[in-house]
């Protein structure tokens, strides 16, 4: 029997989108050691690399943040990690900037700005991203 009309579906389209991820700084170091510039250049933008000073824990936090944002975007195909840029402002708060396919995916799903929190301790980095659909986000 089909479920009754879909308050769940209706509400789910206006619910916040949340994504989280965890990354191990040692894994990042191992990847840098194995692949060097090719690894860094595929994952991080130039500005991110400058801000991280290539410190493994900071790179791990950004990797987790990119994954968290991709989960918010429901990870459609074709999004490069570099399309999700995480830059700290002068107060140290991280800000998400979407480029290319990531931006297109967010626009297509009518997502608002993505808020982000990151933390790291003892070699593990954690990130959570959240976005609210903008008004009129129901698909016709």
């Amino acid at each position: 029997m089909a479920p009754p009309e879909s308050r769940f579906e209706r509400d789910s389209e206006s619910m916040p989108r949340i994504g989280c991820d965890i990354a191990d700084a040692q894994n990042i170091s191992d990847s840098v050691n194995a692949f060097g510039e090719r690894y860094l250049g595929r994952i991080y933008t130039d500005a991110e690399r400058v801000q991280c000073a290539e410190a493994p824990e900071r790179l791990a936090a950004r990797f987790a943040a990119k994954e968290a944002v991709l989960k918010v975007l429901r990870a459609p195909a074709g999004i490069s990690f570099r399309d999700v840029e995480i830059i700290d402002d002068e107060d140290g708060a991280p800000h998400v900037t979407l480029h290319r396919h990531a931006r297109e995916a967010a626009q297509a799903q009518r997502l608002g700005p993505i808020a982000l929190s990151m933390s790291h301790e003892r070699g593990l980095a954690l990130a959570t991203a959240i976005s609210l659909p903008t008004s009129g986000s129901r698909h016709s």
């Binding site: 194995a34 090719r38 490069s80």
Partner: protein, 87 residues
């Protein structure tokens, strides 16, 4: 079937063994085994992708960067062939 099929799958298996951080030996996996079910992570997919690129002198285009590409040895082999066609 591509002439590269055997060497592609060999390179994919070697990359998975070295960088996949799977919780089972790659030799125990079939070509259609679900890699995420045996511990494949998103970060490990990056390393495996780079190792395959190095081994086969290809580059995965952004269009192939999604979970389904990395779901199995079969899907990775298909992505390798697509990558070759787009270079």
């Amino acid at each position: 079937m591509s002439d590269h099929t055997y060497e592609d799958r060999l390179a994919i298996r070697e990359a998975l063994q070295q960088f996949g951080r799977l919780n089972r030996p790659v030799a125990q996996l079939s070509d259609d085994s679900d890699l995420f079910a045996v511990g494949f992570t998103s970060h490990a997919t990056v390393n495996v992708m780079l190792a395959i690129e190095d081994a086969l002198d290809i580059e995965f285009p952004d269009e192939l960067l999604n979970r389904s590409t990395f779901a199995s040895i079969d899907s990775l082999a298909g992505a390798v062939q697509l990558s070759r066609g787009q270079l």
